[in-house]
Symmetry: C2
DNA sequence: CGCAAAAAATAACAGCGTTCCGATACGCTG
DNA sequence: CAGCGTATCGGAACGCTGTTATTTTTTGCG
């Protein structure tokens, strides 16, 4: 009845892969549909038939980014000590960002101007923060953390890791700064701030 | 000797003003030199003779943003209580961001793709964080905060306010979330985490 | 075998930042 | 006062972008 499609799943993956490379190498600005299509040996139309538009292509990258990010978070070994576990999750968060800074920009800092994630992608993104919530809920239930809404603490934890990573990636940290050390100290200080008074005896040096 | 210039300081201010409005209204993506020039009743060449390029124009916006931001920070009344003063500065930071979110994006989240602030602008930006450093240095000297490099604490404080504000501006906070309350609680928890043990008795509820 | 339909590639469109170039309008000089 | 030199300006042009329309190609079925 018609011509069989060659814009298949393989090409879709190839384009996604190459798009990731382009962004990782030279930032979101360097991702051009024309260059992308030329690199993949096809035409710009392929992107439109496979993804719909450039924002939709970015949405696919966003989703893939959160898949990897979620795997890192869910795969972080936990000890049961809430403060240490929050530090560990924060370190995984940072490692994920440093592994592909430009992908991180797409995921967390709206670095591609016209792009907004769709509902599915946002749901996936929210899902990746579940390990964080679990730790906090348990710590509150066990009386280790103060009894405030868990969202409050979760947002605070997310904020400090996101803030630290953003500052690091945008080059806003001082020269000759022990990033890893300061990062862990800041995470520990932040987490310790939510300890109930009788548990707050141990403060980092 | 030659034709007198009509691309003068007044036009420069007019362009900057209008550029700020365009960005504030529809985001950095909506700032087009052609539209800007047309709105100001001049030609695109004017922008190039007055600023040099689009990134240079954005640099002027960046500088103006940090001038206002610095005034807010320096004008925040302080009490001498380190934790409360850090909360106050953090609230001023948030107020500044909410007053013009898109300007905040230019200043702190590299929301204009090709733009990098020049050396003068970066120096001005660093200067605005001086009040933060002063508070921290005194708190360490007074034995209120633990004896770590002040940069470590400063970065931690900057990170949490930047992280919280970023999450708020990108719409990543939960629905029906008491932002102001959670913001202050998180700031207080973070600052409290740097208290020396004997001073850490009072934790927010 | 030819025809219709589906898919892919090419070309076109509108917009962008930037640069070039001809037109313009002034101050100095003769 | 006329005319020239020159600094300045505005419009047009260049190369790029994302997107859309059009044309070409390819295929299975009657």
């Amino acid at each position: 009845m018609a011509r069989p499609r060659t814009h298949d799943e393989a090409l879709r993956l190839k384009l996604l892969d190459r798009a990731g490379e382009l962004i990782a190498a030279d930032g979101p600005k360097a991702l051009s549909l024309r260059k992308l299509a030329a690199d993949a040996g096809t035409s710009t139309t392929a992107v439109y038939s496979l993804f719909g538009s450039k924002p939709d292509l970015v949405n696919a990258l966003y989703t893939e980014g959160f898949r990897r990010f979620g795997a890192r978070m869910a795969g972080t070994p936990l000890t049961g000590d809430a403060v240490e576990d929050l530090v560990a999750l924060g370190s995984a968060y940072r490692a994920s960002a440093l592994a592909d800074p430009n992908l991180y920009g797409i995921m967390f800092t709206k670095s591609v101007p016209g792009f907004e994630p769709n509902e599915d992608a946002e749901e996936l993104a929210r899902e990746t923060l579940k390990p964080l919530e679990r730790i906090i809920r348990r710590a509150i239930a066990d009386g280790v953390f103060v009894d405030v809404p868990p969202e409050t603490i979760a947002v605070g934890c997310w904020a400090i890791v996101h803030g630290l990573v953003s500052l690091e990636l945008t080059g806003n940290l001082p020269e000759e700064f022990d990033v890893t050390g300061a990062y862990e100290a800041a995470l520990r200080a932040n987490a310790s701030g939510w300890l109930r008074p009788q548990n707050s005896g141990s403060i980092p040096s």
